[in-house]
Each structure stands twice: as structure tokens, then as C-alpha cells.
Subunit: 249 residues, 2 copies
């Protein structure tokens, strides 16, 4: 595998210059991305772009004021959207049956595929992207800020801009950790330890453990970054929100 | 926008030659795809490849015997996976809190981004891919066929092979249908009709309506392809399955 492979070298970019990307360029990249696979060609998604300071000001707290929201050129909020499709059914003498969990999941897959295709296309143009996982935490505030109607649920967000400086590439687990042939082979303790050994030995991992006053790298995830308490609070918020938007469970 | 743009021209491929793609090539493309964005660098996914006739025989009914399962070179089942991460926590004196809906959604995003990056990479190599939406319908059978443990849930499937003949490109809605600037602007009836006019006027759409003995294209979706009855049955199956695998709601 070449060290110059575009996909191996890609990186998340959180710092951007003040340079603008034109509306036309963004629409063009989104058009290209819309040709990514979509369930039954239904395109169960919408994207809302936020470029104005007032718009970013409203979105920022929903993303816990991560600096890339105000620091980027454009925030793109990717939404699972059954609103457009249901309205099309309604003007077409067709009775839609999409107020359920399966339909929500279908739209989540559609919009995530679309978002990732956009990310790839933008990165190939030399732009920098950062996904914001906070989208599923504070979906109600985001929906309010963007005026989302029923049947439209924010799923993920990408901040976009021209990269400012060089971002580091991230490490990944060895392919044996994620690839199973024919049957899933479960991991015993020794296998787990060896699969994560390289990650734990990295200088940045060790610093991360020390900065957070923890004993192990995994504890930084369980005790600081993705805690049980926060996960449970945000599970309930997102779950209730999906229902409130019309996807019964 | 150039007519030769790779992303605009991409197509779903359901028919494949008998040609084999080497295990090494598949592992290489998956390795490249694993550098796609992932939440907190947790890589909350696994992929199970199925190449043997026996393996495909077991998976085929779960995908309603769609011919691309037995007709492809490799079936790749992409799974949301918190099993590996939780096991790593457990050998690292860390107490995981990922048995909840928010964590499931995080893993769904991770695995879908990974799957789509793989699809793009495979298509750039000239291979053909087809997503199987049936994965969220019959997840319990798929999990049984692939020996998936707790905290591992099938989310999507890609069939892969060397394209046999030329597949058609699909139409897409105009970009105005999916792009909202600053605020979501809801659709009135006339807007909906005009956004779907080109799709409805296509020869293949008209044939689709006639073949299915329907009056409108939307009715083919609501009455034949994605019915309320089926959606409700599969909602319950998938929802219960997610819970049974350890993601409480």
C-alpha cells in the first residue's frame, strides 16, 4: 500500500483559514455527493448550511461551543428527512407508512452515506472537514435553531473550511481487529491486549492518560470522554426527540 | 460540472462476473476505509466477509434471496460493534457505559461512514457494489448466520464483485430539493410537484408505475416497495433485536 494513498493519508481538520468557499462550489459538491447510494432512490435526507455569524451563534452551544463551529466557513447539518418524501406521497394519492423506527433507521443510513460522500469529495478538493458527534446529543436545540419540521431529525454535522496549517493523521487499529472472515471470531483478553498495544504505546496516548489523571487509556473514554451518565441522559433526549418528530417506536 | 466526474457517474452494480478479488485486495481496501472519520477514534464497527457458497447460502434468505448475494464475489456485512471496545475497557480497569441507545447510534454512524468509504474505494478500483437494505429487516438471522456476539448488530451489507456489463446511472432530485440555506424551508404542494416532476416524467418511472398496476409513482413505494405493514413488522424486530444485543433504550 502506497504511503501516498489519499484515503490512508486523510485527516480530520478542525482549524480553518478565513477563506470562503463559494455557495456554487458547495452546491456542486453536494450534488456530486447526492449520487451516492440511497435506499430505493428515495434520498431520505436534507442538509442545512449555516454560514452567517448569527446562525453559527445559535448552533454553537448545541455543539458545546466546539471552536470549529464558529471557526469554520460553513456548518453543514445533515438530517434524516422523511418530510419531503411523505409530502410527495400526499400529493400523489399515496398513503405513506413511514412513522416508525425502521423508516428512521433507513433515513439515518441514507443521510450518513450522503454526508460521508460529501466529506470525501470536499477532502479531495483540498478542503478540511470535521464531524460533530454532538449532533445526536443536542438534536432538539439544533432542530429549533434550523427550523426543522416534523419527520426531520439531525443525525450528523460537518464543519467545512480551507485547512489552516497541517493536521495530524490519526492512528487506526490493525485490520485484524475489524475484519472477520465467514464467522465473527470473538476476542479473548490476550487478543484484545495485543490489538490495542500499539495505540496504548503511542506518545500522544500516554500524554492523554497523564493529562486526564487516569491509569489507562480506556479510562479516559469511560470516565471523561464518553461516560455512562452522559450517554444515558442523551439516549433519552434523542430517543424522545425521534418520537416527537413522528417516528413511533 | 464535468460529465466525466467520477461521483456523478457512479452506479450501483448488481451483476458480477465470476472473477475473484483477492483477500489481500479486500483487506487493503478495508484498511484504507478504516481511515475514514470515526467517533473519538473508537472505530465502533466490524465487518464480516462471506465468500463461501455455504456462507452465502445461509445469508441469502435473510436478504430475501436477492440474486446479488449468491451472484457476487464477496458479501460484506457491516456491523455496529461495541463488543471489542467494551472488552478493551474490561482488560483496562475501565467501567464501560455503552449499553444504551446513544451508544448504538454512535456505532451506527461509525459503521455507515466506514461502509461508504469502502464502497467509494472499491468503485474507484473499478469494482461494483450494491447495498442491501434488507440488513435492518432480518438482522436476527444475519447475526445467527455470522455468529455475532452481544453488542454487535448488523447495520448494512455490501455485495462486491467485478461488474458484468454496464449498469444504468440513477436519476437524482435537483439539488434545491435537499439543500436548505440557514433555515429549513418547508415544501408546499406546488414545490413538491415541481421537484419530483422530472423523476415522474422518466420513461423508467412510467414503466415502473404500469408494471405495478398503480396510478402514481409514489404508490409504487407506499403500496409495493416500502409498505406500512412491512415497516411496522421490521421496526419491532430490529428494535427488539438491538435491545437483546445489549443496547437498552
Amino acid at each position: 500500500m502506497s504511503e501516498n494513498n489519499f484515503f490512508l493519508k486523510r485527516k480530520t481538520v478542525r482549524k480553518y483559514t478565513k477563506e470562503n468557499i463559494s455557495d456554487e462550489k458547495i452546491a456542486q459538491m453536494l450534488t456530486e455527493a447526492s449520487h451516492a447510494p440511497t435506499t430505493g432512490n428515495m434520498q431520505l435526507y436534507s442538509v442545512v448550511t449555516t454560514r452567517t455569524p448569527e446562525g453559527k451563534e445559535k448552533l454553537s452551544p448545541a455543539h458545546f461551543n466546539q471552536p470549529s463551529v464558529k471557526g469554520c466557513d460553513v456548518v453543514l447539518t445533515f438530517c434524516a428527512d422523511f418530510n419531503r418524501f411523505v409530502k410527495w406521497c400526499e400529493v400523489s394519492d399515496a398513503v405513506p407508512g413511514y412513522d416508525n423506527f425502521q423508516s428512521f433507521m433507513t433515513a439515518v443510513l441514507d443521510v450518513t452515506i450522503f454526508a460521508q460522500q460529501f466529506c470525501t469529495i470536499a477532502e479531495m478538493h483540498g478542503y478540511g472537514c470535521c464531524y460533530l458527534g454532538t449532533t445526536t446529543y443536542n438534536a432538539p436545540q439544533i432542530a429549533e435553531a434550523l427550523n426543522l419540521p416534523d419527520r426531520v431529525v439531525p443525525v450528523t454535522t460537518i464543519t467545512l473550511g480551507v485547512p489552516d496549517g497541517d493536521a495530524p493523521t490519526s492512528d487506526r487499529l490493525p485490520i485484524e481487529a475489524i475484519l472477520h472472515k465467514e464467522l465473527y471470531v470473538d476476542y479473548d483478553d490476550d487478543t484484545i491486549k495485543s490489538l490495542y498495544a500499539e495505540k496504548e504505546a503511542r506518545e500522544d496516548s500516554k500524554n492523554f492518560v497523564a493529562e486526564n489523571n487516569k491509569q489507562t487509556l480506556a479510562q479516559v473514554f469511560t470516565d471523561v470522554r464518553y461516560t455512562k451518565e452522559a450517554n444515558e441522559v442523551f439516549s433519552k433526549i434523542y430517543f424522545d426527540f425521534i418520537k416527537s418528530k413522528g417516528f413511533e417506536l
